[in-house]
Symmetry: C2
Subunit: 123 residues, 2 copies
Amino acid sequence: MIVIDYKDKRPIYEQIIEKYENLIIRGVLEGGSKLPSVRSLAIDLSINPNTIQKAYTELERSGYIYSVKGKGNYVIDDEEIKKRKKEAVAEQSKNLVRLVKSLGITKEEFMENLNYVFEEVGL
Amino acid sequence: MIVIDYKDKRPIYEQIIEKYENLIIRGVLEGGSKLPSVRSLAIDLSINPNTIQKAYTELERSGYIYSVKGKGNYVIDDEEIKKRKKEAVAEQSKNLVRLVKSLGITKEEFMENLNYVFEEVGL
DNA sequence: TCCACTGTACTATTAGTCTTAATACACTTA
DNA sequence: TAAGTGTATTAAGACTAATAGTACAGTGGA
């Protein structure tokens, strides 16, 4: 499920965070499902458990998972995931619109172009 | 023009790169205009000239500026800036559409929402 | 030509982060 | 109880970011 890219200059724990954020927000991991344990994932990826723990701690802090001592780490529930999805779309939309406006592109121009993008990007 | 955020955990040179990319792509800096010299900007920001040089080197490598020995660093010309603008919008559009599709949001739903975003985001 | 400014290159040093390693402790469940 | 879980701590090595100092080469004006 998770693959580390050693050509990537970013730290390993950040890569893990990003991968899980994507899996969760895209619905690949359902709400409430269990993440691999700190130790087992460390063995899987041939890295140190501390690195996994750092990623999980951060994922909990930013509200993607929650942890239960002695049991494991779990994806937040579907209700919460929906919120995250909306937040993600809202944020990226706002950024893009800001850029478009600052470049002096009209809404109509942009919207038309976006239609093509929708065609181009396959499912 | 440039302000360093020391609360930001990213390296200083990356912040400088990002700031200039924005200034250039948003047209605040016109094509061909001269950037502050490595030394003068270093004094302005109270940081080391080497850090500025690292930022400028990277900005040249990624095609936002060009440098002339003994003269200074200059913003690429307007023709090139236009290309960059289009690239930036295209890339961010594609990313957003990918996200929207992966979340199962329909084009119509998204487009309607985007109308509101356009209203919200002032000029 | 001289001088001040410019970009560029290099080495050395300090500080901080990333990662690994090895323990240890508390909690859960079979 | 035993195995598996999360969590915390300390130490070490590798790497990067940033500073400091120096040097060299090109530009342009006095």
